[in-house]
Symmetry: C2
Subunit: 196 residues, 2 copies
């Protein structure tokens, strides 16, 4: 409700990194995921359905990540023991991202904060926002592969409030495109610009 | 039907590159996308539905790519003019990938050929199989962002043969996970191993 009160959430502020991407490049990525005006409308509708489920969604993602012991050092302490403080500190920002992914206009603030989220998964900025001692980078392959879980599990949440099957299809397709657009921009922080 | 007759399709042969990934790493990626035994069963069912639609699917993907003029140099000549020979030569392999993504066991041959497909989108091997003069690398951001189209459009193809909504959900979820698993492995060819 009051995202400006989420600690470390610097969307739209000067504290978010300047993205090394132009608005033209963003327009092209929007075309590449094929995000249409109807998808943008469907995302606004999805926001209403997901808003009070976002916290549960992130809880479920993390439960699934915790089933993979080799991932423990990335969200816990470097030896893999749990760090509930770090998890609690970053969770409201992750929750907020779900709403943002359905509602934020694709402008320069969007671009800057998505670049910032990418950096926060890499050596450049991971752990810094919450002063954690966790492993210093999520390997790109886990970020990408876990995207499948975020996309595939979204369907049930989108269907949980009685929307018709056709409406759920429409929102799920739009959400898929939005998630891939976000994650694609996040990967910029991992890759030599000549290859990205 | 006879994949071994597809020119340049080196699945399971010594001509495919040796993937610099272990089977343990593959098992972890399979966990990361959350590909379950039920998903593997659903993929086998999807194969039956998609087999005779694969060619149409790839035609539709390419039609969509062609709507983005800035992508033309990657599949056409470097100046963006069309290269139908290159398109025709690579299409049967792309078609075959759709079947493979639903049917192939996740073994060393799989790993090697997925790494090979990644290389074939990069400077390392793009154009070589078909002797084309196209731009020498698909930027990673387009590979990733276009994945949204492959995933989102799959639903209608999966539903085109009368499967129940529940069955389509199940196959679509499994297909989403399989696509992300493939694309994740392909990205290895683009990224410094320390970040991947
Ligand atoms: C598609 C997959 C993923 C999504 C959508 C996602 C999303 C997010 C978001 C939105 C944040 C908050 C960023 C901020 O506003 O500060 C975040 C932070 C974080 N994520 Fe991810 N994430 C993904 C994959 C992963 C994976 C695979 C792991 C662990 C193995 C992970 C671990 C973390 C951690 C530890 C943080 C806190 C980073 C920090 O220190 O600032 N994430 N993630
Ligand atoms: C998720 C997105 C994508 C998928 C699933 C995909 C899939 C494939 C597959 C399976 C092949 C055949 C590989 C082989 O067996 O030789 C291929 C080759 C190719 N793809 Fe992609 N591709 C994707 C994105 C793109 C994009 C965005 C472009 C163009 C902008 C593109 C252009 C090509 C070209 C030109 C080839 C031939 C490569 C060569 O010279 O060997 N692909 N793709």
């Amino acid at each position: 409700e009051h995202p400006e009160q989420i600690p470390g959430y610097t969307y739209g502020t000067d504290a978010a990194s300047d993205a090394p991407l132009t608005m033209e490049e963003l327009d092209r990525l929007k075309e590449a995921v094929w995000l249409t005006a109807d998808d943008e409308q469907a995302l606004r509708e999805a926001a209403g359905i997901l808003a009070d489920q976002a916290d549960d969604m992130v809880t479920a993602y993390r439960a699934r990540l915790h089933e993979q012991p080799w991932l423990a050092p990335y969200s816990g302490h470097p030896d893999g023991t749990p760090n509930p403080e770090y998890g609690a500190a970053s969770k409201p920002r992750f929750d907020r991202w779900i709403i943002d992914a359905c509602t934020r206009p694709l402008d320069q603030d969007w671009l800057n904060y998505q670049y910032e989220i990418g950096l926060r998964h890499t050596k450049a900025k991971k752990n810094k926002t919450d002063n954690a001692d966790s492993a210093d980078q999520i390997p790109l392959r886990y970020l990408l592969s876990f995207t499948a879980v975020v996309i595939a599990t979204a369907r049930d949440y989108l269907g949980a409030k009685g929307a018709s099957a056709e409406q759920v299809d429409r929102m799920h397709s739009a959400f898929t495109k939005s998630v891939m657009l976000h994650v694609t921009v996040w990967t910029r922080a991992y890759v030599d610009p000549a290859n990205w």
